[in-house]
Symmetry: D3
Subunit: 67 residues, 6 copies
């Protein structure tokens, strides 16, 4: 009964891509730790680039600088 939380920047991930993340993360827990998929929960959070920072800067600012 693992719980997986995936945080990504909000960049237009499609419903199909999110379904692939959920399927893949669930399968990973099955493959590595023999966990039961029926009680494995995956929650994806999409975060605005103004709200995500790395290197002390927002992702918005980094993209404007071409980083």
């Amino acid at each position: 009964m693992p719980f997986v939380n995936i945080k990504i920047t909000r960049d237009g991930a499609t419903a199909e891509q999110k379904a692939q993340l959920i399927q893949g993360a669930t399968q990973l827990l099955v493959d590595v730790l023999n966990k039961t998929p029926q009680t494995t929960v995956v929650v994806i959070e999409e975060v605005d680039t103004d709200n995500w920072g790395i290197g002390g800067e927002t992702v918005t600012a980094r993209r404007q600088q071409g980083k």
Copy 2:
């Protein structure tokens, strides 16, 4: 000063229902562990059904299949 984070699918929970969750979770910590309500924080996160998976599938897909 507990911190409670409740993640649910975004399914039209009303402001009144969310207030009940906050009241109930706070009272639970008082009843079981004698915590101080004044510093007990409860945060509710509502997650789109495309972003929530169980059993390797999104909740969106499960509902389309009548699961």
Copy 3:
């Protein structure tokens, strides 16, 4: 299929008390939002008082000051 994360200071909560928190949080989601208990997950995290701060101070320091 809600997910509830309860963070408390590590203060000797017993296994019985933690079971009560899990039972109570699950029932709360049933009562307020009619959620299915079988897929409701509750995770309790106990945090050392050196690692928990409020008002800009650690809980360890606050207790030494009788707060």
Copy 4:
């Protein structure tokens, strides 16, 4: 490579203020623990006042009461 998650009520924080939080939190980890800013991630989550509770009440309700 620390990870910092800041949850605040959604109250009109500007992009500039959020950039300051990201810059400040990253610098704090550098100053106190000599962490590398390039792999320090900060994620800000803004939460509706209906979804944030303290003292057993939503922030929405508290503000209506002038608390």
Copy 5:
């Protein structure tokens, strides 16, 4: 620069298995969303079975009942 948090019960996962989870989750983000592995962070949290509940019961209690 995704952030993945995997919570599992503390059940003796080996360092090798945890390395496989980290490798697999990182690769999943590369495969599905073309994310950069160098800034993808994965954090695994192992939780005591007394602190993990599903169906309103602790995992400890469920195992004693043979569930």
Copy 6:
């Protein structure tokens, strides 16, 4: 009433350093958003290097390779 969660690798941060993180993160919210320190909560989580991954590898493995 912000909530700040700081995850770092378990590397011997002292109680004094953790107190500095708590003081600094609380002050940051005061300075940038004029938040009330009395209800600002900071929780620090220290994670074993076997359980923290970046670039698809555990921090344990990266350090053995001199990265």
